[in-house]
Homo-oligomer: 448 residues x 2
Amino acid sequence: MTQMEFAKKSKITPEMEYVAKSEGIDVKKLMELLKNGEVVIPANKIHLSKNLKKLVGIGKNLKTKVNVNLGTSYDFVDIEEEKEKLKIAIKYGADTVMDLSTGGDLRKIRKELMEICEIPIGSVPVYEAEFRAAKEKGSIFDLEPDDFIKAIEIHAKDGIDFMTIHAGITLEGIRFMKNQGRTTWIVSRGGGLLAAWMLFHNRENPLLEKFDDILDICRTYDITISLGDALRPGSIADSFDRPQVHELLILGELVDRCRKANVQVMVEGPGHVPLNEIQAQIILQKKITRNAPFYVLGMLPTDIAAGWDHIAGAIGGALAGWFGADMLCYLTPAEHLGLPNVEHVKEGLIAFKIAAHIADIAKGIKSAYEWDLAMSRARYSLDWENQIKLSIDPQKAKQIREERTTKTVACSMCGPFCPMNLIEKFVEDAKRAREEVKIILEKSLKEV
Amino acid sequence: MTQMEFAKKSKITPEMEYVAKSEGIDVKKLMELLKNGEVVIPANKIHLSKNLKKLVGIGKNLKTKVNVNLGTSYDFVDIEEEKEKLKIAIKYGADTVMDLSTGGDLRKIRKELMEICEIPIGSVPVYEAEFRAAKEKGSIFDLEPDDFIKAIEIHAKDGIDFMTIHAGITLEGIRFMKNQGRTTWIVSRGGGLLAAWMLFHNRENPLLEKFDDILDICRTYDITISLGDALRPGSIADSFDRPQVHELLILGELVDRCRKANVQVMVEGPGHVPLNEIQAQIILQKKITRNAPFYVLGMLPTDIAAGWDHIAGAIGGALAGWFGADMLCYLTPAEHLGLPNVEHVKEGLIAFKIAAHIADIAKGIKSAYEWDLAMSRARYSLDWENQIKLSIDPQKAKQIREERTTKTVACSMCGPFCPMNLIEKFVEDAKRAREEVKIILEKSLKEV
């Protein structure tokens, strides 16, 4: 049975208990959300039986989650580097990762990563289907619909917890795109090759045609389907155009089918969206999909931040999270330029952890607010040990503080003129406070 | 005459023409905005007569501006480092800078910086007043109200274009703070020492008492007053509390007085504000001050991002800019930890340039949208030269692309499987497209 099926039968599972505890919400409430499909817990039974330790819930009333993409490419096939990325991702608090490898022995890489992956892991099986077809049949255009199903089955058996399934792109969607006159057409790697196949054969999307088979596999292993958005806008000019919205309509119908089949499902979203359209994107997605958990890429509110896309993406991500996106896929400084290295992964993840936390405060998540309050109290009392400890990245905070050191009890920005907890003393007893500050403050003022 | 006075007399100045041209708006419209005080052009006549080359307008209908703080501190007095920061700030597109030096010979530092400062520069004269009093009179508590005026006069003569004047903190505001039970009381360095003075003497704010004298000086040199917010929230818990709002009410009255005296004025704002309160902060400020240009610090929507506060601040800044903040004061990775070094300044500035640009797109600034469109077109046609050129930081984009190089015409993320401009070919003629992709795409697929 899937978590959704258990929930429908009002049976509380250990996975629900784990998530309820880590979110600080009532397990019965969580069960209701799972039942309605407003929350998913991606946990393949195979992975769960092996080393999936840190479960996450994604969806309504829960903390905003962050996903880290990693994996080899045609140009960089270095499995040790990818393992390093995974370790860094886990260390810095990624909620989930996706193995998007497209170079080397894909299955071997996946298995090696999964051996050290204690958090939910996702994949895009369509890549592997295409590469296998090219190798075994000589061409991706010789792919048969069943080949996609075979790839999904392999990933299922390997223990993948959630899979991107681009079942929403149809010939009608492509027609909308053609008539629209898009700026960047298709920017989804899996979706692009799929569309090429559809256009070459003038055939409907095989993932859509075989969707019942996919549901069977996902139900068996309790894999969460992550409905991919092959027609997501790849430039802000394309945000909310007709092909994007048409695909969303199909995804909405597929959400209904997943839920009916007791298969957990979330929906992927953009991508390049100007800041002033982010809220509308989320409202529309939530309505069309009847509140399916929303997993967005960024969102990225400008096209020009190459080299710093993690920052642009964190801006869009914070807003998206506040308005109801449930999981943010991170971006790294290498986005639009190349495959990220380990340092890029770390920088991208931290930027998005900050974005998710900012969203959580805005959403009213109590523990997020309390973290900030504890930090501000440490700051007010010049308690540097706790300030470092409570920072999003204690190592970096410590390093900057040590590099830019101070002779005073404050920091090297204000030094003896630090206003922290100065005024409270003056409000209490100004004469006494003046005597107190004479020693440090006034002496320093004279030195300047 | 000040720019405002010229505008009131319907006289177009060269400064108005410069700004109108750089903003791409009609100069008569700009004049109207200046007349109403909805836009300011900070340009001290002294600086203008020397080396102020790059003028900026700040306010309604204009691009969102970014300010860079720099200057020495008690712990770091290295004038060469500060000059480097200024050069980096100008190179990476800071609209204005502020010299907040509090270490070394403040006037000498200011003069050396101004020699190479071709953009508007601001300062906080209250620091210098306090340090002078400590040195010359033995204590900041021996400061007389006239000492503040003297410091302002010195800065005016040195050519400072805009000055932070903390005239809005009153004994009544401090009473509100005391009763409120704030988390971080006062976090403004200038405001903190001022409040200590007021409490010690139980006297009203000397900057408020002497405000007419300040207006006289600022009118003479056409200095833009930047009304400081000494009681800004220093933690998200303090956002929108009574002392903050009380100070804003006083600032609103002072805006009226400035405009009546033909002195250009903008208003400073927070600071630590949760994401969901940013819009309300801006609506309130704009109403209370009758649409004075709003110059915010961040805003910073979390307290816990020490080491990465430039990213947290860029998130708040983008939102603030979209909702109507006219200038964003940047934050660096060293915020809350120490005085930034040159690299921190660069990182902070780029983060905020991205935030301002994202805000400009959302605000409907045409040139901002067109920049993105040009980038996406270059991206779609795999024109790497223009992609690098159109990046916010071409040097960084180039460096990442070279470090994570590819054997293909795309990038090392997708390599031969890059979906860019693949589908348009298939839509046009799928059979021919297949022949085309055989050479690269299919060959590569087999290699994986």
